[in-house]
């Protein structure tokens, strides 16, 4: 009896040890027989942007512990496909069997951390284009991003294209009440506000992950936008659904506001030399001549002008990049005629708001004054 009590006391102390090592990441479901759920993360030096997998590891022991190894299971995981999760759990279970008779709770958790660190890369294909996120042989890839809420990864370009599509779709469905889908939901407190307010406030949107439909924060997307600095390619993809019958959407209030937001973001990026030229539809072949876009002079000119003439600069530099893309499109016309057409249309349409002259510009200023999106 005394021996049993002593053994129990030892196990309780071991549980306490785990709890003190893992702190908030350890939840003790039951002290004896031990039942723990430990939040296990790979070693990333606390850089969450470098973390692609995580696991809530359940360890449930019987009163025979440590003679009988505990049962190990996954409570929840992120970023792990089924194969990897099965492999991970069965390896830890094997480790538990090996360590029978010894206190092993901390060791099992450490094993999980080690294994997760080795698995800390996104697996498989981008769910949107179905091409690999990371190419296995050379490790090269298009830039990709991860949603922080569920760790699903996408090519940055792919998720941005989808996001822009949703924004357009949302505007669209507000105009004509077709049963159009928008997987965009409003934040609960903003619900009445955003539907009644004239200004269609994009920042009140949250999205649903295309894979698991878990709600994610728009910040995830904004982050990608900042990283890519890809406003030029966005402008091109913005108008992918531009038709004769959809043109009215472009003249709508919310669309104008949105376009102006992009235009101002674009200018900011350009001033900071943060622009990366779109490379999506451009297939570079040996010996091909790629003209250097004449962007630098405009940007420096923009720096020197004073405040009073700033709005003129805004409108010229707003259309400037489209001329560039257009000329790039011209060189690749032979191998992507649809891409060229799309750019061409975007060029024409994007000019319309500016083409209206004074009112559009005034509105841009007003918008810039009362909201601070950046």
């Amino acid at each position: 009896m005394a021996a049993a009590a002593e053994a129990e006391e030892e196990v309780r102390q071991e549980v306490e040890a785990v709890a003190s090592v893992y702190g908030d990441d350890c939840r003790v479901v039951r002290g004896f027989p031990p039942h723990l759920v430990v939040h296990v993360r790979p070693h990333t030096a606390d850089d969450s942007s470098q973390q692609f997998v995580e696991l809530f590891l359940g360890i449930k022991a019987s009163s025979q512990y440590p003679k009988a190894p505990p049962h190990v299971y996954a409570v929840e995981s992120k970023g792990l496909d089924e194969n990897r999760q099965v492999y991970l759990i069965s390896s830890i279970q094997n480790k538990a069997r090996e360590l029978s008779c010894y206190p092993m709770l901390v060791t099992l958790c450490e094993e999980a951390v080690e294994m997760l660190s080795n698995m800390n890369h996104p697996a498989g294909d981008c769910p949107l284009c179905l091409y690999p996120l990371v190419k296995e042989n050379d490790g090269s890839a298009l830039p990709f991003m991860k949603l922080m809420s569920c760790y699903h990864c996408f090519h940055s370009d792919c998720i941005m294209r989808w996001w822009e599509w949703l924004q357009n779709d949302d505007t669209d469905s507000k105009k004509s009440s077709t049963a159009a889908t928008t997987e965009v939901i409003h934040a609960s407190e903003g619900l009445d506000l955003s539907s009644s307010a004239k200004h269609h406030n994009v920042s009140q949107h949250k999205g649903l992950c295309p894979v698991c439909r878990k709600v994610f924060d728009e910040k995830d997307i904004e982050h990608v936008r900042d990283l890519l600095g890809a406003n030029t390619s966005q402008l091109a993809s913005l108008s992918i659904d531009l038709d004769e019958d959809e043109k009215e959407v472009l003249h709508s209030e919310s669309e104008k506001i949105r376009q102006e937001k992009f235009a101002s973001l674009f200018n900011l990026q350009q001033e900071r030399n943060g622009l990366i030229e779109p490379k999506k539809d451009l297939s570079i072949q040996p010996g091909m001549y790629i003209p250097r876009p004449p962007s630098a002079p405009t940007a420096s000119e923009g720096d020197t002008v004073d405040d009073s003439s700033e709005d003129t600069t805004t409108s010229t530099s707003g259309t400037e990049p489209l001329n560039q893309t257009n000329s790039t499109g011209g060189t690749t016309k032979h191998n992507s005629s649809s891409g060229h057409r799309r750019r061409h249309r975007s060029h024409a349409s994007r000019r319309q708001p500016h083409g209206q002259g004074q009112p559009a510009r005034q509105q841009w200023q007003r918008k810039g004054g009362d909201t601070s999106h950046q």
């Binding site: 769910p127 949107l128 284009c129 295309p210 894979v211 439909r213």
Partner: protein, 161 residues
């Protein structure tokens, strides 16, 4: 009858083309079981044979699905209908239209033809009775001008079948 004359469709975008070629290649490596892609050179319209799963009301029966892809697939859902004759099912109208949320409001660009097919087969397999939807006649009458099911405002109330 099967409203196969879809309204003047636009050609697939480059992105849609790439994605569909990839889907087709993957389909050819591992097609979902119970389905057979009918070879054609039209990437924008797939015709797929479905065979009812063993042990269900549709065991051994074969039907044909027609999948039409919009210009901006996969941002937009494909249009999926059964070709005549459509299976008798409480969610399948006699004109081939299918009342299934993922084809309309719940579409997500992470879904594929393959995953849609599996959903449809699962819908067939869980059918309690071979019957038409209650409002079949009214609905089909309203669609006589060759309307696409994507223009229908669907109510999805039954999550059991």
């Amino acid at each position: 009858m099967t409203s196969s004359s879809s309204p003047s469709r636009k050609a697939l975008s480059k992105i849609a083309c790439n994605r569909l070629q990839k889907e087709l290649a993957e389909w050819q490596v591992s097609p979902p079981s119970g389905f057979k892609y009918r070879v054609s050179d039209n990437l924008q319209r797939w015709v797929i044979e479905v065979t009812g799963a063993a042990g269900t009301l549709y065991a051994g029966e074969t039907y044909q699905l027609q999948v039409d892809f919009p210009e901006h697939y996969p941002m937009e859902a494909p249009q999926v209908i059964f070709l005549n004759p459509a299976p008798m099912h409480p969610h399948i109208y006699s004109n081939g239209h299918i009342c299934l949320d993922i084809l309309y409001d719940s579409w997500s660009p992470a879904m594929t033809v393959s995953s849609v097919c599996i959903s449809i087969l699962s819908m067939l397999s869980s059918s309690p009775a071979k019957q038409r939807p209650q409002d079949n006649d009214r609905y089909v009458r309203n669609c006589r001008n060759g309307r696409s099911p994507k223009e229908t405002r669907w109510w999805f109330h039954d999550d059991k079948v």
